[in-house]
Amino acid sequence: MMKLTRRALVDRAFKGSLLCLTFKLGGVSMLLTPEQARAQNVPLLKLSGVQARRLGFLADAMVPGSSDLGVVHFIDHQLNADPNEALLIAKYFQVPLPYLDFYTKGVEVAAAMAERSLEKSIDELNADEAERLVKEMSAPGAVVDQFPIFLFYLCLRSDAVDVVYGTPAGFEKLNVPYMQHILPPEGWNV
């Protein structure tokens, strides 16, 4: 069997995803894609179980497939990162730090919107109801309970687009060549 060096692992992960991040499992640092981290139940560092479940549900309603591809692990990983190194589009939108507050409040407000508009817990929404909730969140400039829910929608949708379409595998889904300049050096993701 060919020895899988760290370099080879990085290269393989890069070619497969470009979203290879360092996750900790059982006290051991591992280089995993968010999809792999999700599949291996890597413990979340910032989001609670309920927050993670609801965030994944909303992301999947916005960009189908994003939950399976680990959008929640991607976001959770980034919420734990040095903000200057963070890869979230929230940076572009000048979301105030800490980003964790923005994501947890966004989930909380979305859940409250479900209760008010659909008279259901967000956890019990079917696909049509989820679509109605997201539609309400996506109204340009929408502010609910003094929270910029439209901005939250833009950010979460973009995070989900990142994991589904922003990687070499995502480009392949769109039949677009990725054409990276150079492979990243070892340790680039730390």
Binding site: N84, L97, V161, I182
Partner: protein, 525 residues
């Protein structure tokens, strides 16, 4: 008590478009140059081809509080770490036109620069020769006089050609876009491979970002680059007429004094003004170099509109440069707007597209989600066309940078931005939005739409002028009140033009750097 370092000839604050040039030119002339950068160190090989990873080039907690009513899109325009914003800039480098410098005297509008195009032309030519610009000076019919481009034009694919059809149908001209991206090997740098990753930072140095051209030159000539050095104030002597150096903080909060024979602020538009405002002292109670009260004022940003459309052709939109393939400046005349708005406009045509990120395919239709999104993404990946309209903003004194009540980790006030797009700029934007959709339809788009108003480039705040009573700097980028204090970057512009700002910021910086060298003996006199 602050630690005091050994004096240097020049301290440059910031490693971006202007700072890198100052460092190279001054160090090559034998000056002992120290460059302080607030962010981290970075080299070309740190730039990965990914819109996701490119976000590391942005600020997480910018030293800015935006109060509106409009945003200047600070984080979109600014940068963090070696190379600053210019690391992720798109390298569209048209020159400002003659009329951009004389709007007050020629039209009774806006402000005049204290120099005209002919004063700046040699420095445009010099910078152009340094970095290598690709273009076609003859086909660029609107271009003011200047040396021909040293390199042939950038790649034009179906993307550019199909959209150009729409311009032609409306009797509008297009020409290869002038771009600081190499189409052939040039001065040891390789040409572009047209993969559209400019926004993520070009790691091969084909795009003239500071990491590719002026920072290596600066270091080779002996300039020292120092990361994680947060400059808070310019220090002056007792009479307040001479800068003695700067104060900066290390990440662990240690205050350091760096004495210098001359200070050059190149920390980008907002931070330059903030540093000067925070440098208030007995002789300069309203901020250093602010006897006129104009420090921080005349803040400008180009109102920009993205046009998107779906065409039957395979647009090959993943190829090319992020900044586009073609240019149209038919509406650059100050009085060419059909609705009577004053100012210039231009089109940058055929921007290379990626699926994700702020300017990606998905974000052109933020209203689409769920099951419909994948079909849209598939369609867009092959058939989407894209261009951006850039409009002139007017210099208004009420648009300003001031000190906020909020403070940074070292106890210094953040910058507070009060900004509203000028009425003329807004009108130009509306004209551009409608015209762009019309052009796409004339080019055969099945669907065409425009995005919301965005802001490109941030200018003003430390403007140059002839009169010390109404400006911060003279024609040499030198503070009226402190003759060994200089400012570089687009913050020195008294008018915004509609041309992208980096080339002009470089040309002005080159002029200033040469002035410093020619007048070195008198700077400390």
């Amino acid at each position: 008590m602050s630690k005091v370092k050994e004096p240097v000839d020049v301290v440059v604050v910031g490693t971006g478009a202007a700072g890198s040039l100052f460092a190279a030119v001054l160090a090559e002339a034998g000056k002992d140059v120290l460059v302080l950068e607030r962010g981290g160190a970075r080299k070309l090989t740190d730039l990965y081809s990914s819109q996701i990873w490119a976000r590391r080039l942005k600020w997480a907690s910018p030293p800015v509080v935006e109060k509106g009513p409009d945003s200047i899109w600070f984080n979109f325009n600014a940068g963090h770490g070696y190379g600053g914003a210019a690391v992720h800039h798109y390298a569209v480098w048209p020159r400002f036109h003659e009329a951009d410098f004389t709007e007050k005297s020629e039209y009774g509008r806006a402000l005049d620069w204290p120099l005209d195009y002919s004063d700046l032309r040699p420095f445009y030519d010099l910078v152009q020769s340094d970095v290598g610009i690709s273009g076609d000076a003859k086909k660029e019919i609107w271009r003011p006089e200047g040396d021909p481009y040293p390199l042939p034009p950038v790649l034009v694919t179906n993307h550019g050609n199909v959209i150009a059809r729409g311009f032609a149908a409306l009797d509008m001209q297009t020409a290869p876009i002038p771009m600081a991206v190499l189409t052939q090997p040039y001065k040891g740098r390789p040409p572009c491979i047209w993969d559209g990753w400019c926004d993520a930072g070009c790691p091969i140095g084909a795009l003239a970002n500071p990491l590719a051209v002026y920072l290596p030159r600066a270091e080779k000539a002996g300039a020292r680059l120092q990361p994680h050095s947060h400059v808070t104030r310019v220090l002056v002597d007792k009479p307040g007429k001479k800068a003695t150096g700067v104060e900066y903080y290390t990440p662990d909060g240690e205050a350091i004094v760096q004495p210098a024979g001359a200070v050059v602020l190149c920390a980008f538009t907002i931070e330059n003004a903030r540093i000067l405002l925070n440098s208030a002292n007995t002789n300069h109670p309203n901020g250093l170099a602010n006897k006129s009260g104009s420090l921080g004022r005349y803040l400008m940003s180009h109102p920009a509109v993205g046009i998107s459309g779906l065409f039957n052709e395979d647009m090959q939109n993943f190829l090319g440069a992020t900044g586009g393939q073609l240019l149209c400046q038919d509406a650059f005349g100050k009085k060419s707007d059909p609705d009577g708005a004053f100012g210039s406009r231009q089109w940058e045509i055929g921007l290379a597209l990626k699926p994700n990120d702020l300017l990606g395919i998905a974000m052109t239709r933020p209203d689409i989600f769920g099951k419909e999104l994948h079909a849209f993404m598939l369609e867009g990946a092959r058939h989407m066309g894209s261009m951006v309209g850039v409009c002139e903003d007017q210099p208004l004194p009420q648009n300003r940078i001031e000190l906020a009540t909020e403070k940074d980790q070292f106890g210094f006030p953040l910058a507070r931005i009060v900004y509203e797009t000028s009425a003329e700029g807004r009108k130009l934007w509306q004209t551009a939005a409608a015209e762009g959709v019309e052009i796409f339809k004339a080019a055969g788009a099945r669907e065409a739409w425009h995005g919301p108003q965005g802001g490109q480039h941030i200018m003003g705040g430390t403007i140059m002028g002839t009169d010390p009573a109404s400006s911060v700097l003279n024609a040499e980028g030198q503070a009226h009140e402190v003759n060994n204090l200089f400012v570089g970057g687009p913050g020195v512009f008294p008018t915004s033009s509609a041309a992208n700002s980096t080339f002009t910021a470089k040309a002005v910086a080159m002029k200033t750097a040469k002035f410093m060298l020619e007048n070195w003996g008198s700077l400390n006199g």
